[in-house]
Symmetry: C2
Subunit: 250 residues, 2 copies
C-alpha cells in the first residue's frame, strides 16, 4: 500500500506545481469532450495529464475526463484532477485536487488525499488509522453551539437546499471534496448536496477523510453512502460531524 500512497501524494504535489505555473486566463478554454459527455476545460486536462503520467501502469485509473483506464491492476486511483473547476477558472481561491486509492467502491478506499491549491493545505485519510490536516490528526467538531453548514446552492441545488439557506451560518464554497474535508477538520459541521449529481471521483477521497475523522457520509435519503467506481453513478451527499444533524438537514 505504501507505494500507492506515495504515488497519490506525488500526483497531488505535481498537479499543484503544474497549475501554479500556468497562466490562469487559459484555465477555462474548452478543449475536448470528456468521458462524462461534458466539455473538458484546459485546467482539468492539464491536471489529469500530470496524474496519468505519474501513475503510468502502476494502477488502474478512474478520472473525471478520461474515464476508466484498465491497466489490469487490483487497485484503482480515483481522481478528480481539479475539485472546484469553476472556482479555479474564475479565480475564487478555493479549489483543489482529490486522489483516492481503492478497488471497487468508496467503502474499500484505503487512502485518500485532498489538497487545497491556493492555501497548500493537505487533508489525508488512512483507512482505520485516522485523518490528518498537514500531518496533524483531525476530528470532526463536537461543539454544535455555532454550527456552519455548507450547502450546494444555485442550479446545483434543489428546493430542499434553497430552503435551508436561512439557517444560522451558511457557506457555499463551490468545491465538494474540500468542503467535505472542512467537515473532517471541524471547520464546518455539515456539507449538503441535495441533488444526485456528484460522481465518485468527486468524493472518493473525502468520504474516507470524513469517516476517519469521526464523521459520516449519507445520501439525501439518509442512507450511508457507498458509491461504486463508475462515472455513471451520481449521488447526493450529506457529510456530517454527527448523525443528529440529519434531522436538521433532511
Amino acid at each position: 500500500m505504501e507505494e500507492f500512497i506515495q504515488i497519490a501524494k506525488k500526483v497531488a504535489d505535481e498537479i499543484e506545481k503544474k497549475i501554479k505555473g500556468e497562466n490562469p486566463t487559459k484555465f477555462g478554454e474548452e478543449i475536448c469532450i470528456g468521458a462524462d459527455g461534458t466539455p473538458t476545460q484546459y485546467i482539468d486536462k492539464v491536471a489529469e495529464d500530470v496524474a496519468l503520467e505519474i501513475i503510468g501502469k502502476r494502477g488502474n485509473v478512474l478520472s473525471e475526463e478520461i474515464g476508466f483506464i484498465d491497466n489490469g491492476r487490483k487497485h484503482t486511483f480515483v481522481i478528480d484532477p481539479i475539485d472546484g473547476t469553476r472556482n479555479a477558472i474564475h479565480g475564487v481561491p478555493f479549489y483543489g485536487i482529490s486522489v483516492a486509492v481503492g478497488k471497487k467502491s468508496t467503502e474499500d478506499v484505503l487512502y485518500g488525499i485532498v489538497k487545497n491549491i491556493p492555501t497548500g493545505d493537505i487533508y489525508e485519510g488512512y483507512k482505520g488509522k485516522g485523518a490528518f490536516l498537514n500531518g496533524k490528526r483531525i476530528e470532526v467538531s463536537k461543539d454544535f453551539s455555532d454550527p456552519i453548514f455548507c450547502l450546494v446552492l444555485g442550479e446545483s441545488g434543489n428546493e430542499r437546499t434553497w430552503k435551508l439557506a436561512n439557517m444560522k451560518s451558511i457557506r457555499a464554497l463551490g468545491a465538494a471534496a474540500l468542503e467535505m474535508c472542512l467537515v473532517a477538520s471541524g471547520a464546518i459541521h455539515a456539507y449538503f448536496m441535495g441533488k444526485e449529481s456528484l460522481r465518485v471521483t468527486d468524493i472518493a477521497a473525502s468520504c474516507l477523510i470524513v469517516r476517519e475523522a469521526g464523521g459520516e457520509v449519507y445520501n439525501a435519503n439518509g442512507e450511508i453512502l457507498n458509491v461504486p467506481f463508475d462515472l455513471d453513478a451520481r449521488s447526493s451527499v450529506v457529510a456530517v460531524a454527527s448523525p443528529h444533524l440529519l434531522e436538521v438537514l433532511l
Copy 2:
C-alpha cells in the same frame, strides 16, 4: 500620502504574521466587550493590538473593537482587523485584514488594502490610479455568460437573499471585504448583503478597490453607497461588476 500607504501595508503584513504564529484554538475565546457592544474574540483583539501599535499617533484610528481614537490628525485608518472572524475561528480558509485611509467617509478613501491570510493574496486600491492583486492591475469581469454571485445567507441574510439562492452559480464565502475584492478581480460578478448590518470598517477598503477596478457599490435600495466613518452606521451592500446586475439582484 505615501507614508500612510506604507503604514497600512505594514499593518496588513504584521497582522498576518501575528495570526499565523498563534494557536488557532484560542481564536474564538471571548475576552471583552467591543465598541459595537458585542463580545470581542481573541483573534480580533490581538489583530487590532498589532494595528494600534504600528499606527501609534500617526493617524486617527477607527476599528471594529476599540472604536474611534482621535489623535488630532487629518487622516483616519479604518480597520477591520479580521474580516471573516467566524471563518477564522472555525478554520474555514477564507478570512483577511482590511485597512483603508481617508478622512470622513468611504467616498474620500485614498488607499485601501485587503489581505487574504490563508492564501497571502493582497488586493489594493489607489484612488484614481486603479486596483491591484499582488501588484498586477485588476478589472471587474465583463463576461456575464457564466456569472457567480456571492450572497450573504443564513441569519445574516433576509427574504430577498434567500430567494436568490437558486440563481445559477451561488457562493457564500463569509468574509465581506474579501468577497468584494473578488468582484474587483473578476472572480465573481456580484456580492450581495441584503441586510443593513455591515459597518464602515468592513467595507472602507473594498469599496475603493471595487470602484478602482471598474465596478460600483450600492446599498440594497440601489443607491450609490457612501458611508461615514462612524461605527453606528450600518449598511446593506451590493457590489457589482456592472450596474445592469442590479436588475437581477434588487
